[in-house]
Amino acid sequence: MTTFPMKRRDFLGGAAASAALAALPNTVSAAPMLTRSIPSSGERIPVIGMGTWITFNVGGNEALRRSRFEVLDAFFALGGGLVDSSPMYGSAQDVMGWCLERLPKGRGDGLISADKIWSPAGGTGPEQMEEARALWGLPKIDVMQVHNLVDWRDHLVSIRRAREAGRVRYVGITTSHGSRHERMAEIMASEPLDFIQLTYNIVDREAENRLLPMAADKGIGVIVNRPFQRGALIDRLEGEPLPGWAAEYEINNWPQFVLKFIVSHPAVTCAIPATSRVDHMRENMAALSGPLPDAKARERMRATVEAL
């Protein structure tokens, strides 16, 4: 893990973006930002991304779309990069495209788009990838993954073909809730992959046993979903006093505590918390700065949460 001073020219595309950014008081434009390399390419991405499960599935209602636009705008203004979606998430891909189209010029330049092929959504893998590009309004999807390993053999072939054609940059597979870890390990052992996506958080650490060490060993990037267990983990921790030593890591609240635990694992590339609120987005994105806990501090974090 390294940090780098974020340059304004990397962040702002022009005067319009600058004006919009000024409206966000918690902008981290001058702060060092935590990033990690994608192992297969060396490309650096911010360690906090954004998921869209539930939060961006708002159908055609314009007021709800506008509120999600505010969330996405804040995400990019605060240094965000990777955004993950899926055809399983209802209208989330379409809403994401709608929001991206309305961002101030240059605001979304740091976007790393991540999407999935999910067989039950209907259509072939190539058709789903085409639809994803159309819905996001992008010439290419950066990370294309096989959702929950469904029909993974066929879909990996399709994704690799799309990569050869320049419509995808990275190939991945996903799972969640700690399920199908055995199968994921088998695929990691036999297939060249750029990314895996799995569930990992301070109270669900099963991935530490095999998948995270294996990803580090094989040079596969790791996207972490459900960092807050869909909010249940934060609900459990809210109201408890934050330990005083957390301030050493510039941790000011429990979401940052939980996120810093995740992204301080050496194998993790990026965590993707989902939110529909700008204030929560600000809390999440604050985990992009400050020192990361080392192994000893991570153990202290784990013990703290277990004791609550």
Binding site: I54, N57, V58, G59, N61, M88, G90, S176, H177, S179
Partner: protein
């Protein structure tokens, strides 16, 4: 799908979409409410043509729920909606075949079961919307008979008990299955009023079973 994932949308979004839907189809909401009142009156009067007329009304309602609520509105946010839409359309055909286009029954339903059916129909019309509002669902976003599935399933089950001859237990199958969906939906979104649907469907099935035991066909 893993249950712990819940639904792909939350209660806030569902309420907003339901309010949009009820507003967009206000004319249909009013028409369906009028038809529901007429159906309740028909069931109460126990006219010999009641089953056929009610069959027409219920089939229309079920078809509308399948096409407009599930097929158009919910399909935007829920990948399971197209399957639900198909189930509601199948139910509409079944209601038409078993009630609307069936010959009039030779004898009418005994009073006690009919009374239970009428009460369930009235609960779908009045009690369920009232409970939703009491449970903080915005009045404009309530699930109503003929346009949304929960109230329609309950109403259809009550109507089946009220007017259908006893052997037509098949008319309760889709409402019973939907009551499971409604109860789970209510649980996952924190909408306690939706628990009324499985509770009253259980009551309907129990009433049907007791009546059948007391008076075998």
């Amino acid at each position: 799908m893993n249950l712990s994932s819940g639904l792909p949308y939350d209660a806030e979004v569902y309420a907003v979409l339901m309010a949009d839907y009820n507003r967009r189809w206000l004319a249909m909401v009013l028409l369906m409410s009028a038809l529901a009142l007429a159906a309740l009156w028909l069931a109460w009067r126990n006219h010999v043509q009641g089953p056929r007329l009610l069959g027409c009304v219920l089939a229309f309602m079920a078809a509308w729920v399948g096409v407009a609520h599930q097929g158009l509105m919910m399909a935007e946010v829920n990948f399971a909606a197209s399957a639900y839409a198909a189930a509601w359309l199948a139910f509409a055909f079944w209601l038409a075949a078993r009630l609307a286009f069936a010959p009039p029954p030779r004898r009418l339903e005994p009073g006690r079961l009919r009374l239970v059916g009428v009460l369930v129909m009235a609960a779908a019309l009045v009690l369920y919307p009232a409970l939703q509002v009491l449970a903080a669902v915005p009045p404009g976003a309530t699930d109503l008979i003929g346009v949304a599935p929960n109230a329609t399933a309950l109403f259809a089950a009550g109507a089946a008990l009220a007017v259908a001859p006893r052997r037509r237990f098949d008319l309760l199958i889709v409402p019973v299955l939907w009551s499971g969906v409604a109860g789970l939906h209510g649980y996952l979104l924190g909408l306690p009023a939706d628990y009324l649907i499985p509770a009253l469907l259980f009551f309907c099935v129990a009433a049907y079973a007791m009546q059948r035991k007391a008076s075998p066909a």
